[in-house]
């Protein structure tokens, strides 16, 4: 009898334990800025996109390894070179209870393509979505569109009925001085439903009981509270007022790691930090060299690269939170040429000789335009590189400025040397190669971020083939070819891939994503 009772008690205890473990939890999390809007086609900004992924869904999405997975579409096939047919998931409902169908997909594509939308770039090459039946949609593209699926991971689907009812069939137009309904309200199909929103204070979302998928985590309520000040954000984590911080300040990580009540999860971001040099102008805008442009000479560019010790930057500036590289896009990206990626070993003597051969034995002066609030340790990296370049008598004046100024200055090509970090949301090499190293063609995506005007016809040829090639093996070969030529030319000076640390209470487990997005449906709070 006693044993039996003990047994019962044990079962009960176990059940209670299992219950507490599986118990629904609240996740309170923070980063420095707020989501700017709830409208999924209004402000194409990384953090906002990541946040809206909890509420809105897309036809296809990225899984834990960032591979493309079905979401609102269950399957797809290429019917002909310009048509991809998507079968839609049946029995899906929006948060307001209206059923999801092909009409909503057609509508959302139109909305994302509207002139006030900031998401047109994700539908570049897409003509329209055409309804075949209630659960089938054809996406019509201008060409073979090899990166259609990655693009569609950012085209969030809204309800046509809801948008019509609330007069938000188009994203916000800033010329109308009115707030639109979709800015503070949301109606998606995703695992979480927006409950309340107070900008810069608190945004609350609760689990969607009617969601079609299975949440692997146990968070039934998430509370997002932005905290701008680094030290306060960390204090709030240490005091237990919040459970998760997306962007802990790098200098505090060693201290955090010693604290038993919190933990730090690190992963590599698919972002490459590099320097670019103006190779297009006949005379640099910001240099003491007059009448010619030293960066037009590949030997000078090579000397610059040989002077910069990426391993030292990793150790001294990044405190280990970076992976030095020699290529322009990260290992998670399709087409990454692993065999080419050997970071260049610094060699000051050879660098000096190359400079002398090029006609600059005394070195020269140049200004480096650098952001100071955009990338991890951005300004410090520039200062460190300037000190290294001083060893070969290249005097670099670091012009560090906030993102809002550095962005337009460099994008207008008003620069002689600049720092840039390039992430690849499509996880496909074409995105990086076309923007960064293909010859610039104004008003197109070709070389739109090739801000120093690097140009090599062979690279252009390979990149142009990439645009229409659909075979993955051939695409990888083309990406490798373009990367190799660019590397020999020293078109840019790649520094490293940046690591992103996330900090959380010890009882929180998350899945780290290289695109720096927290997926709440996978989070467990014990």
């Amino acid at each position: 009898m006693t044993t039996k009772r003990t047994f019962h008690a044990a079962v009960l205890a176990a059940a209670a334990l299992a219950f507490t473990v599986a118990q629904a939890a609240t996740l309170r999390w923070s980063s420095q800025g707020d989501v700017t809007t709830m409208d999924p086609h209004a402000n194409n900004e990384g953090f906002t996109n990541g946040f809206l992924d909890q509420i809105y869904e897309t036809l296809v999405t990225r899984g834990k390894t960032l591979a493309i997975e079905p979401s609102l579409a269950t399957s797809w096939e290429r019917v002909n070179p310009t048509t991809t047919r998507f079968k839609l998931r049946p029995n899906v409902k929006f948060h307001d209870g209206t059923p999801f169908s092909a009409d909503d997909v057609v509508f959302s594509f139109q909305r994302a393509l509207a002139d006030t939308s900031n998401y047109k770039t994700y539908l570049a090459g897409v003509k329209e979505a055409r309804k075949v039946d209630d659960l089938t949609v054809d996406v019509i593209t201008e060409g073979p569109a090899p990166v259609l699926l990655p693009q569609l991971t950012e085209v969030r689907i809204m309800s046509r009925a809801w948008c019509t009812a609330h007069n938000v069939t188009k994203p916000q137009d800033y010329r109308n001085k009115e707030e639109t309904y979709a800015v503070r309200n949301a109606n998606g199909t995703g695992p979480y439903m927006l409950k309340s929103r107070e900008a810069d204070v608190k945004t609350v979302a609760v689990a969607n009981p009617g969601w079609w998928g299975k949440r692997e985590g146990n968070v039934d309520e998430m509370v997002y509270m932005p905290i701008k000040s680094d030290s306060t954000r960390l204090s709030a984590l240490l005091s237990g007022e919040i459970d998760f911080v997306l962007d802990p300040p790098v200098q505090d990580l060693p201290r955090l790691k010693e604290n038993k009540s919190v933990k730090v999860v690190e992963g590599m971001e698919n972002r490459t930090i590099f320097f670019g040099m103006d190779q297009a102008r006949d005379e640099l805008l910001y240099s003491n060299v007059k009448g010619k442009n030293p960066f037009k000479d590949a030997r000078v560019r090579q000397a610059m690269q040989l002077a910069i010790d990426t391993a030292a930057i990793q150790k001294q500036v990044m405190r280990g939170l970076s992976v030095p590289t020699a290529v322009m896009f990260a290992p998670q990206v399709d087409g990454y040429p692993k065999d080419l990626d050997h970071p260049v070993k610094p060699d000051v003597a050879r660098a000096k000789k190359l400079l002398a051969d090029a006609g600059y034995p005394q070195g020269f002066e140049v200004t480096l335009d650098c952001p100071n609030n955009r990338y991890v340790n951005d300004e410090k990296i520039c200062v460190a590189a300037a000190a290294m370049l001083a060893k070969i008598n290249v005097k670099v004046r670091v012009n560090a400025m906030p993102r809002a100024m550095w962005g337009p200055k460099t994008q207008n090509r008003d620069t002689s040397m600049y720092m840039l970090g390039w992430g690849v949301p499509t996880f496909d090499s074409q995105y990086a190669l076309q923007s960064l190293i293909r010859t610039h063609v104004p008003k197109t995506a070709d070389g739109d971020y090739n801000l120093g005007g690097y140009s090599n016809p062979k690279v252009d040829e390979a990149v142009d083939k990439l645009k229409t090639e659909v075979d993955p093996a051939k695409r990888a070969r083309l990406a490798r070819e373009a990367s190799e030529i660019h590397m020999k030319d020293v078109g840019h000076i790649p520094l490293h891939f940046q690591m992103i640390p996330w900090a959380m209470r010890a009882n929180v487990s998350v899945i780290h994503r290289a695109d720096n997005r927290l997926t709440v449906k996978w989070v467990r709070v014990q």
């Binding site: 707020d34 770039t121 137009d173 900008a199 204090s235 709030a236 337009p408 739109d448």
Partner: protein, 327 residues
């Protein structure tokens, strides 16, 4: 009197105009919001279209003229960062800033005056010396550092008080208040001490200096000779006479407290106007910055005007010449 008020009002308007004009001239240097609103991969055409849509392709004086014309109609535009009307955003944040500033001023007065009296009456006690030394620290220590220390001690180590935010608020019409909830009151403690520290030290030192001055005067000596109690002399006769300059300074400080709540609000993520402004700067959110600067200009102008008018009311000498002409 009316002419005086009208003249001051005209001057105030001119000040506001100049503030707005200079602000717009400076906006050229805060950067380009378009680069933050559009993804990096946006084409030049996209950016140009966006710039035109926001009117940023116009020279600053044209932007200023548009702003003025719209502001006359009570329209301050839409925040580029949050996509909501600027007037709504500022009205939403106003209660948070005003409540914080009010409590900070209260702390400054409630603690500053007694401490000032004490240090004046017992100038040689060790506590007075300590308080004076501490007040020097208070004047010279930057605001955010005090805030960070307080957070470290009371939120992280002791866990008594929240490190950020405003707690739960109660809506009273358009006003939100943190005075009516426990979490709201708890959240108020650290930020208001941080913000109130500077006025506290100023008030304390001012009261002390004035008290020392007054205690030397003949009427205090006479009061003592009459055999009045120390208590009556110190608080009834001496303190009363020190309060006039104190009130003037506190009145002027109030504008400063509201305007400089920016730093305290940033440290504590206090959802007031200052935090809104700081975030606007980072995003180059011009409509918010313009409206905020004009509002702060207005607050200063109104307070100065009120102080000027009070002087006329309080100080008979300023009124003497006028009746002569009027009659």
């Amino acid at each position: 009197m009316t002419a005086f008020v009208l003249r001051r009002l005209l001057q105030a308007l001119l000040v506001m105009f100049v503030v707005g004009f200079i602000a717009f001239a400076l906006f050229n240097f805060v950067g380009d919001p378009v680069s933050l609103m559009l993804p990096p991969e946006a084409t030049e055409a996209d950016r140009a279209a966006m710039r035109a849509m926001l009117g940023l392709d116009q020279p600053f004086y044209a932007q200023f003229a548009t702003f003025l014309a719209n502001a006359m109609h009570g329209n301050f535009g839409i925040s580029l960062r949050l996509g909501r009307p600027v007037a709504d955003l500022i009205l939403e944040r106003l209660p948070a800033t005003l409540e914080l500033s009010f409590i900070a001023t209260l702390i400054g007065l409630a603690a500053g005056i007694p401490l000032g009296v004490y240090t004046a009456l017992k100038p040689n006690s060790w506590l007075s010396r300590f308080l004076l030394a501490a007040s020097l620290v208070g004047v010279s220590l930057p605001n955010f550092l005090i805030g960070i220390f307080l957070i470290l001690i009371f939120a992280v180590w002791l866990g008594w008080l929240p490190s950020f935010g405003r707690g739960d608020v109660v809506h009273l019409g358009w006003w939100t208040t943190g005075f009516l909830t426990v979490s709201g009151l708890k959240a108020l403690i650290l930020p208001s001490i941080t913000l109130g520290f500077f006025p506290l030290t100023i008030v304390m030192r001012l009261v002390r200096a004035e008290m020392l001055e007054v205690l030397r005067t003949d009427y205090v000596k006479f009061a003592r000779a009459r055999g009045l109690t120390e208590r009556a002399i110190n608080f009834h006769h001496a303190l009363k006479n020190t309060l006039v300059p104190v009130i003037t300074i506190v009145g002027l400080q109030l504008g400063g407290i509201i305007a400089f709540a920016i730093i305290t609000e940033t440290v504590f993520q206090w959802p007031g106007m200052g935090l809104l402004f700081v975030q606007a700067i980072q995003f180059a959110d011009i409509p918010i910055m313009a409206a905020y600067l004009c509002l702060v200009g207005l607050i200063f102008v109104v307070i100065n005007l009120a102080v000027d008018l009070l002087y006329v009311v309080v100080d008979p000498r300023l009124r003497v010449e006028r009746p002569a002409g009027a009659h």
